[in-house]
């Protein structure tokens, strides 16, 4: 559905995207994660025809974004990082304005507006001015605006950033409800959000794609399925080489008196504790998360880059 091929984009002397390529299949939700300034927003702005690529090609449903931007735009619903709505408008007027710009027929538009306002839980505030709304309410209006023309593709840039946990959860559930029906790209800082929602995740750093895969694939590439956190009495007494030779241990990181061991299987935990006998202060286990993957990949990339 979306094919990004060797795209490059600079802003003055700053290289925002350096030869990135990825694709999004129909009905798939691709997450794009990366630190600030990684190029996430630039990448999705190019797909949404807001920016022009310097090099490379982007095709949406077979249409080139530089050749047929109007057709491409009409297939995309776009939610920018800050919804930045017209303050003097009411949600109903705003949706009507954007509906008209998307060319939604008048007889369909009124029904569609009511439907969307209900969907995002805004029917009670539909005729209030937007300048009286909280950030969460604005984000809901922003989502409704992105969906006003019932687009097959939805691009969401940090949809839950800065929202309280309850609102963020409701928006995540809303996005989850659209899965399968829409092809979606979701830019996010929240790894648990990407893990929870995305079919595949692309990790972006310094304008380059470090890896693309399902959350499970990415986790298994970097670490095991399980992380063991051990607080040591005396870190100098640990024989790391001996521990790394144990079958099932994928990675060991020592940071002060905290040792983090990535494991593929739970069974070897007693062996590790036995090897550290007398030197263990406390032990915790936790599942490997995308956070671990992200930190590991971005950290590794920055070391390589430098």
């Amino acid at each position: 559905m979306i094919e990004v091929e060797s795209v490059r984009k600079s802003f003055g002397k700053i290289l925002a995207l350096d030869d990135i390529s990825f694709r999004v299949d129909k009905g798939e939700l691709l997450g794009v994660i990366g630190p600030n300034g990684a190029g996430k927003t630039t990448a999705i702005r190019i797909i949404a025809c807001i920016l022009h690529p310097d090099k490379g090609s982007v095709k949406v449903a077979g249409l080139d974004v530089t050749q047929e931007p109007i057709k491409v735009k009409s297939m995309i619903g776009y939610l920018p990082e800050e919804p930045n709505l017209y303050e003097r408008f009411t949600p109903r007027n705003l949706l009507r304005y954007f509906g008209e710009l998307y060319g939604v027929p008048r007889h369909v538009l009124n029904h569609r507006i009511d439907e969307l306002l209900q969907l995002v839980g805004m029917e009670d505030r539909a005729d209030d001015q937007i300048n009286t709304f909280s950030k969460g309410l604005r984000q809901r209006v922003g989502i409704a605006r992105a969906l006003i023309h019932d687009p097959p593709i939805l691009i969401l840039d940090e949809p839950t950033m800065g929202l309280d946990p309850a609102t963020a959860t409701s928006i995540r559930e809303f996005i989850r409800g659209l899965k399968g029906d829409k092809t979606m790209i979701l830019c996010t800082h929240y790894m648990e959000e990407a893990d929870y929602l995305c079919d595949r995740v692309a990790i972006l750093n310094q304008g380059r794609i470090l890896d693309v895969g399902t959350p499970q694939e990415l986790k298994s590439k970097i670490k095991g399925d399980l992380a063991l956190e051990i607080y040591l009495v005396d870190p100098s007494r640990v024989n790391l080489d001996l521990l790394e030779e144990l079958r099932g241990v994928k990675n060991i990181r020592l940071d002060g008196n905290k040792m983090e061991v990535s494991l593929q299987e739970r069974d070897i935990i007693p062996n590790i504790i036995r090897m550290l006998e007398g030197n263990v202060y406390s032990v915790n286990t936790r599942e490997t998360t995308l956070d671990d993957v992200f930190i590991e990949m971005v950290h590794g990339d920055e070391l390589d880059y430098n």
Partner: protein, 369 residues
């Protein structure tokens, strides 16, 4: 173009919903109405030769010695303003002195004033008025005597004095052009506001070209200006001023609005924020007003020149307009519109103008050339 019209329609709706705009809109109309009332009063006084005089009523405050045996000017001096004392002195003796020498007609009047006292101004003003009145009296006497002798000679009373001409032609023309410069803030708010409030990103994501966004927004301002122009013309006409060829004058004004809005759009597209845009349009409008006013002043003094304001002035004066004058003016408006909109659209298509880092003017010019 349909999408441009959608933007135009919503911009107009949103503008007329704004209380601030409505206040300014009505305020402008009320101000114009009051200005026209004052103008009308001044013009009527100029037509009838009346003047507004404030009488100090200060008996013996200002005193004047007058040597005017025939009473040519003495009789015209208002005694409520200046106390007149008849004298036969020929030189000032510590007080103001008016010496009128007359060998039949014409006469010669000399006024000696002590400029160190504020009373001298009152004396000077009143003597000037008295001289004017006596001069008119003498002229009338001459005319009356000539009429008796020469039946074909008569006084011409139809026509406008230069000040009247200036007010009727220049001032009314300037008043009509004024609305074109009153709505710069609308286009600035419409374009720079999208950048400052960061709403532009969503608008650019719509299935509409960037050029149509600018054209739609500009069109909205032109429509609002056109509405304002109609109201202004009605007020001017209701105040008693004649606007001959009103539809043609209206057309010229609306066509003049196009490049003015185009230039404002260009400034707005390049500006990062309201502050920059405000400074930009101040400079630009001074230049534009210069381009409109200077040829008009040349036309008033020398009777020739080409430009929209000159066309309007000619139409207001019911003068003949040649086709070449019309063509030159309209082609000037079309060419300047094409240049200003061309540059504005070219800039608005650039990612660096919208999302930064914004290139400098020199770099842009180099790129353009």
């Amino acid at each position: 173009m349909v999408m441009s019209w959608t933007i135009t329609k919503w911009e107009i709706k949103s503008t007329f919903r704004s209380r601030k705009f409505l206040f300014i809109f009505i305020f402008q109309i009320v101000t114009l109405f009051l200005v026209m009332l004052i103008f009308n009063g001044v013009l009527q006084m100029m037509n009838t030769g009346e003047e507004v005089t404030l009488l100090p009523s200060l008996g013996e405050f200002a005193v004047l010695d007058v040597n005017d045996p025939q009473g040519i000017i003495r009789d015209e001096i208002n005694p409520d303003v200046v106390s007149v004392h008849t004298t036969d002195a020929r030189s000032p003796m510590g007080r103001s002195l008016l010496l009128v020498e007359s060998d039949g007609l014409p006469f010669n009047a000399m006024l000696f004033l002590d400029s160190s006292t504020p009373m001298s101004n009152i004396v000077k003003d009143e003597v000037e008025s008295a001289v004017d009145r006596s001069s008119q009296k003498i002229t009338s006497q001459i005319m009356a005597s000539m009429e008796r002798k020469e039946a074909n000679i008569r006084e011409e009373t139809v026509g406008e004095s230069l000040p009247l001409k200036l007010i009727n032609k220049v001032m009314v023309a300037i008043l009509l052009v004024l609305p074109l410069f009153l709505f710069g803030n609308l286009i600035i708010d419409s374009i720079v506001g999208e950048k400052e409030r960061k709403t532009g990103e969503s608008l650019i994501a719509m299935p509409i070209s960037r050029s149509h966004i600018i054209l739609g927004k500009s069109m909205a301002v032109i429509v609002i200006m056109a509405i304002q122009l109609i109201i202004w013309m009605i007020i001017i006409m209701a105040s008693g001023f004649r606007i001959p060829n009103a539809p043609l004058i209206y057309l010229i004004l609306v066509l003049t609005a196009v490049p003015v809005v185009g230039l404002t759009s260009l400034v707005a597209v390049y500006s990062k924020n309201y502050k920059e845009a405000g400074i930009g349009i101040t400079f630009v409008y001074i230049i534009v007003i210069g381009f409109l006013i200077v040829p008009a002043l040349v036309y008033v003094s020398q009777g020739r020149g080409v430009g929209p304001l000159i066309l309007i002035m000619k139409l207001l004066g019911s003068e003949n307009i040649t086709i070449s004058n019309m063509l030159l003016t309209f082609s000037g408006l079309v060419v300047s519109s094409i240049i200003f909109y061309g540059l504005a659209l070219w800039l608005f298509e650039r990612d660096d103008i919208l999302f930064g880092p914004r290139p400098g003017v020199l770099k842009l010019l180099r790129g353009l050339l």
